[in-house]
Amino acid sequence: MDDLIAARMQMAVSLGFHIVFACIGMTMPILMAFSEWKWLRTKKQEYLDVAKAWSKGVAIFFAVGAVSGTVLSFELGLLFPGFMEHAGPIIGMPFSWEGTAFFIEAIALGIFLYGWNKLNRWVHWMSGVVVGISGVLSGIFVVSANAWMNSPAGFTWQNGRPINIDPVAAMFNSAWLSQAIHMSLAAFVSTAFAVAGVHAYLLVKDRNNLFHRTAVKMALSFGAIAALLQPISGDFSAKDIAQRQPAKLAALESLYKTSKPADLVIGGIPNDTEERVDYALHIPGFLSFLAHGNFEAEVTGLDKFPKDERPPVLITHIAFQVMVGIGMLLALTSLLFLVFSKWRRRTLSRKWWLSFIALLTPMGFIAVEAGWVVTEVGRQPWIIYGVMKTKDAVSRMPGLQYSFYTISAVYLLLTLIIIWMMRRQIATVKTNYPSASLNQ
């Protein structure tokens, strides 16, 4: 395996692994604090039980998130020293803010997990809220570092090195806002639907279980709001990349030729040699509208870029279809959920509905992974868009494939253990929580 490919794959595997735990770390504290708040207000046992059960799982996920994040902060240098040598002083600031946010998160989580019976209830609740806020903030800070790679700002590039560095301008680059909003929503959507899915699956087997019913309702209400906002934010992101990274937009829409107006291409298989998309559905003028808000606007195609500056079309296009497809599916589901909650409550405990929600368990996370593939592969061949190529940043160390194999094997093993452990954890719910054996 080529060293560049190995380094990129290792980065992708490590980030793809970490993001799952990061999403959970950003979302679960909010859900737990919400459940505890309901308990404080209503004194109903099931809310306390759900909050406690969730916090057990969070401790495990948090630890894996922390260690895989530590791996990342070294890997940036281990794999792409050429990048970090120049980017470090420019994007170090958001990373140091992230460190601060994470520190507070870790401390507050310690207080939350170990302080159940030792603190004033509202103080305990407050520590959960702090975990949630600092979790989301740490996510936003790292994403801003990534946004800088897509939309470099805050320096002048001269003779192969940056001068006039302005870390604040770098952090608030033009991709920052759209990526931060979209990512935070994605974390909420993916985790909330996964949690709802697992509890819905258990509910199918034990239909009137109060504990699982409470959990599904809370998780879905939360996920539904985020899932409805997600397409709006996605549209904002798409308009944004139409401005700053037209090659990425062209790749994810498989737009080989600059067109005016441009069709929206749905599905299909891009054919790079013939420069066309086979088996796709075309909606005339719609891409012009989505990218520029005008059915007649011109959209830049890949033909405007030299061949060696085009991102891989096939991967980006498919990843984008997967993300948007899932986004639409989850938004529609959320709409149905809201409608049923208002007018047909009985449907919410029907078997078909619960099975459907259970089937959606992995969907949000698949969309998150696909979305990152769109962003990261769509930036290729650049590591800092328009400034530095990925191949010029990679480590000189030969044989990088061996670290790639090792890290992949370790993460695969951890994934299997975690899934297995969660199943064991779930099996004990009935004996540990009073409301879990209550049927109403």
């Binding site: 902060s73 240098g77 002083p89």
Partner: protein
């Protein structure tokens, strides 16, 4: 600004050694102390190990933000030992958490334990190797001179670095033994940790001396550098003078004083080490040095970095205080 940043970098290294050391060392001690100790040890480190960890992250972030060239050079030349450290960190953290939170005590418990203990040895050992390799002077940055072996193996695979690895492992064990004296539930257990602590202190002193001897043997004149730095000499005196005091405290345990004395001792070791070579961070094979001065980022970067660190400290210190108070309550 540069000076403050270097101090914060140094302090986070020291805190990582003291706090993280107690945490890694706990895995080392557990190997000898056996099943009985497992419970006490797990209870002692479960609430704090993630927070302890943050000092390493902080050091790394300061390094790549403030001194990017040092970060890039270490991560290229020392790719292999750092990769081992990372895998060690991952396996250690996860196996510990899994063991602590997994629901039943069955065959899995054994696997988690083996993984936890092995990685508790391997990680400090390779951390020590990495630290040794930075100053040993075998790092080559010129891509045209030498092959794979010269660039990626020789910088860290030598007797000096290996001795450093053994030294840090033994030191971490010592820190943990001292930490556990205060965590032990009853007298006999406490005596056991006192015994461990005494032995590991002697072992660490022995290996510490060996580090200097091996360095001389390999042509890296640490002793000469040492006597040039008055800070190093002061630090060594502190380390040595504390030994009788610590021995006294072993025999008449006062947990607070004992911990404080050992923390100061470790801090002095680290500071002395730092001072020997200051401001050099990396010695290259061709005689060049990477120092804090010739690798520093522009002032604007330091300014922003310090703001973030300052706000962080203002928020974190009271939060930490609160965390410890909550746990104090737990124990009573």
């Amino acid at each position: 600004m540069l000076a403050i940043t270097i101090i914060i970098l140094g302090v986070s290294f020291i805190l990582y050694t003291v706090l993280g050391g107690a945490d890694y060392g706990a895995g080392i001690i557990e190997t000898f102390a056996g099943r009985r100790a497992e419970k006490t040890i797990s209870k002692a480190i479960a609430p704090v190990w993630e927070a302890n960890h943050v000092w390493l992250i902080l050091a790394i972030v300061i390094l790549f933000t403030g001194f990017p060239k040092i970060y890039a050079t270490i991560s290229t030349a020392l790719h292999i030992p750092l990769m081992v450290v990372l895998i060690g960190i991952v396996l250690r953290g996860t196996s510990f958490t899994f063991r602590h939170y997994d629901v039943s005590h069955d065959f899995t418990h054994k696997y988690y334990t083996v993984l936890f203990r092995v990685s508790s040895f391997v990680t400090p050992f390779f951390l020590g190797i990495t630290l040794g390799a930075m100053i040993f002077g075998n790092i080559t940055t010129d891509p045209d001179s030498g092959g794979f072996y010269e660039h990626f193996i020789l910088p860290w695979l030598n007797w000096f670095c290996i001795t450093m690895g053994v030294f840090s492992t033994s030191l971490f064990g010592y820190i943990a033994a001292v930490f556990m004296i205060g965590e032990a539930g009853y007298e006999i257990e406490q005596q056991k940790y006192v015994r461990y602590a005494k032995r590991l202190l002697l072992l660490s002193i022995g290996i510490g001396i060996l580090v200097f001897l091996v360095a001389e043997g390999q042509g890296h004149h640490l002793v000469k550098l040492f006597f040039k730095s008055s800070l190093s000499i002061v630090c060594l005196s502190v380390v040595v003078l504390l030994i009788p005091l610590i021995y006294y405290l072993f025999n008449h345990p006062n947990i607070l004083y004992l911990r404080a004395a050992v923390a100061v001792q470790i801090a002095a070791i680290m500071a002395g080490w730092f001072a020997i070579q200051f401001p050099v961070m990396i010695n290259e094979k061709n005689g060049a040095h990477l120092t804090f001065y010739n690798t520093q980022a522009p002032p604007e970067t330091f300014y922003q970095l310090l703001i973030a660190l300052f706000v962080g400290l203002v928020l974190i210190i009271p939060a930490f205080y609160f965390l410890f108070k909550v746990f104090k309550k737990t124990k009573d």
